[in-house]
């Protein structure tokens, strides 16, 4: 009797709000020979594949591209229009299974490499993160925080870019994000906002992540600042690898400097082009880098002199921002 899963490990989940450029981090980690980066699978937004397929068909973005590309690559060995079709059919035949079972299947295919998963949708609802933890009790969680002003500028910049082709519908995911309602003291969403104010999604999503992480053992979670990843990538990546108890051999760290080598870092086949945040337009930011990292002063996206809400400042200060 040979135990069937003795070597497989639970995945590493990167928790970050959308547009935190977490793909570059995910792809960099995936270049370490002991890890394998998945594109955005959005698996834990649903319990079953049937539910996931429904969500995907109703989504305002190409929610299925990441998972289809991952299945094509790991099950059928390459990403072509034909294997994407096969992947879609593979998934449809498994519509009754749990989404976690699909991730387990991908983990088996990637074995002995450990999966790195980053789907921003998971941070919208604490239930999605709890589902991931329940299904993978030994999973680790890497939380990426970003300064609220920098985050807000990215969102409004992205809105400008994406509206160039015409106004975005209120149901578009970016509008939904930018106009996210505030949270009540009980953690419930208030009436949907109509005004663009990216400090609200910054606060709501980060607080949701913090609430979830409060339930996770210390050794299974860590956090980094997105800014540190930009300024000292080697230091941050080595810190993560050490925390994961993986090899810190220089060649392996060197490999992580090439996230572009990931099979998901380029455009996919015509029927599943995307799957990561790499393909979103890169907005030009209105502020220079020094002004991006201050909690004081007016917010550029407000016509008046409005500043950060008190709870936003308090949470940002917990992350070491000033």
């Amino acid at each position: 009797m040979t135990p069937v899963q003795i070597g497989t490990s639970d995945p590493l989940f990167i928790l970050a709000p959308p547009l935190a450029c977490s793909w570059k981090l995910c792809a960099a980690l995936g270049q370490h020979p002991q890890m394998y980066a998945l594109p955005e699978t959005h698996l834990f937004t649903a319990q079953s594949v049937a539910e996931w397929l429904q969500l995907s068909s109703a989504s305002s973005f190409a929610m299925d591209h990441g998972l289809l590309r991952a299945l094509a690559e790991l099950i059928y060995g390459e990403q072509t229009e034909s294997t994407i079709q096969l992947a879609a059919a593979w998934l449809l035949r498994r519509s009754h299974v749990t989404t976690a079972f699909v991730l387990e299947t991908l983990a088996e295919r990637a074995h002995p490499r450990l999966l790195v998963e980053k789907s921003p949708s998971i941070v919208y609802d604490v239930k999605s993160m709890r589902r991931a933890h329940l299904m993978f009790p030994h999973a680790r969680f890497l939380y990426v925080v970003q300064h609220p002003r920098a985050y807000g500028e990215i969102i409004v910049g992205m809105l400008r870019e994406m509206s160039k082709a015409g106004p975005l519908a209120t149901s578009h995911w970016l509008m939904q994000l930018a106009c996210m309602p505030a949270m009540t003291e009980k953690g419930e969403a208030m009436t949907a906002g109509v005004e663009v104010d990216p400090q609200r999604p910054w606060y709501v999503l980060n607080r949701t992540i913090c609430d979830f992480l409060d339930t996770v053992s210390e050794h299974q979670k860590t956090w980094i600042r997105a800014e540190a990843l930009r300024t000292s990538p080697d230091v941050v990546l080595q810190k993560i690898i050490a925390w994961m108890n993986l090899d810190l051999i220089p060649e392996r760290i060197e490999a992580m400097r090439h996230p572009e080598r990931s099979p998901f870092s380029g455009l996919g086949p015509a029927n599943a082009c995307f799957g990561t945040d790499l393909f979103l337009p890169q907005p030009e930011l209105a502020l220079d880098s020094r002004d991006l990292y201050s909690l004081e002063g007016p917010l550029s996206w407000h016509s008046g002199r409005q500043t950060f809400a008190l709870e936003v400042k308090q949470l940002a200060q917990k992350f070491g921002y000033s």
């Binding site: 135990p3 079953s48 059928y76 096969l86 299974v97 749990t98 079972f101």
Partner: protein, 344 residues
């Protein structure tokens, strides 16, 4: 015939097809199911059989009381005992290689990820994992409902069944003794399985949480109804797939009875195999499990998993019942059924 190089996608399709065909052509699950009311020597016999080199004894996995794993998890969350411990220990052992706190947590995730599976599919996976050994299951909870029994036979038509018997007096005394021990630990809710068993079938779940006086508890009713459930069910099972044995006979004359069981199953009945079966304490489930899955078997067995022949001391169908204040004896139908089973 010219050969064409296959693309990697064709290779992958072929690999999937081959795997699926292999699964389809796998031998059907090889199961031996012990049927008996709770407190009928099922734990010790299951552990003994499981030590036979061609068998594998499970602890109490309670899989077949639910149709789906989702339903099973729901039942576990409502159970008055640690219903999930047995299965968690098995998955930790068979899928992750050992029973530790770490692998028990892995087992939780593995099972949660299979919420979509039927419980029979899970049992089939475990059966394949121990193949070619026969998987021995003994979950006394299945004998409460005839539909559970019928479902087992529907999903495993080639399964073999042992109807394990115990004298109604020994059974009743064991239930009352176990209940007494449980009461020492604190109040026993009416929904507790022991009280349900001792008060069966008159005690209703909707009654108050006050424990009835022991004079109202009469485990002979459960003994009768549950054994009748088994007898009724076994009428629909081919005779070569069923065997009736008295637990007391196994404990008193293990060599003779174990040879009989092995012979019926078509397994080795040599001294080596029989000798192994007399060491239930060697089962991986014969001691307390790790944190997160301590139990999974009868607690008395976990404390002292050795074969004790004195547990099967001679007893009689005559005379008053120790648990009844009115000193009444067995009901006529209980006596009649016990006599059919060869008890006096």
């Amino acid at each position: 015939m010219s050969s064409h190089p296959q693309s990697s996608s064709q290779t992958a399709v072929h690999a999937e097809l081959t795997t699926n065909l292999q699964v389809l052509h796998r031998a059907p699950p090889n199961l031996l199911i012990l049927l008996a009311p709770p407190r009928s020597f099922t734990t010790i016999l299951s552990a003994m059989l499981g030590q036979h080199p061609q068998m594998y004894g499970l602890p109490e996995v309670h899989l077949l009381v639910a149709r789906t794993m989702e339903e099973w998890w729901g039942l576990c969350s409502e159970a008055t005992f640690n219903m999930d411990h047995g299965l968690l220990r098995v998955v930790a052992q068979l899928i992750f290689g050992e029973q530790t706190e770490y692998t028990v947590k892995q087992a939780v995730g593995w099972l949660r990820r299979r919420t979509h599976c039927s419980t029979a599919e899970l049992l089939e996976m475990l059966s394949h994992q121990v193949h070619p050994r026969i998987l021995v299951d003994k979950s006394p909870s299945v004998v409460y409902r005839p539909e559970f029994l019928r479902h087992i036979f529907a999903v495993f038509p080639q399964a073999r069944f042992i109807h394990l018997l115990r004298h109604p007096r020994g059974h009743g005394e064991s239930v009352m003794k176990y209940l007494h021990a449980r009461r020492q630990m604190g109040p026993v809710p009416t929904s507790h399985w022991l009280l349900q068993l001792a008060g069966y079938p008159s005690m209703s779940l909707v009654e108050s949480d006050v424990i009835k006086p022991s004079s109202e508890l009469d485990p002979q009713r459960a003994w009768y109804v549950l054994n009748m459930n088994i007898c009724d069910f076994l009428r629909s099972v081919p005779t070569h797939q069923q065997l009736q044995i008295r637990g007391e006979d196994v404990l008193r004359n293990p060599d003779q009875e174990l040879v009989r069981i092995a012979g019926w199953l078509g397994l080795r009945a040599d001294n080596g195999a029989i000798s192994e079966m007399k060491h239930p304490e060697r089962s991986p489930y014969a001691s307390y499990g790790p944190p997160g899955a301590y139990f999974g078997n009868d607690r008395n067995f976990l404390r002292d998993p050795v074969l004790h022949s004195e547990a099967a001391r001679p007893t009689t169908l005559e005379g008053p019942l120790s648990w009844r204040h009115d000193r009444a004896g067995f009901l006529p139908q209980v006596r009649q059924l016990a006599e059919q089973f060869g008890y006096a």
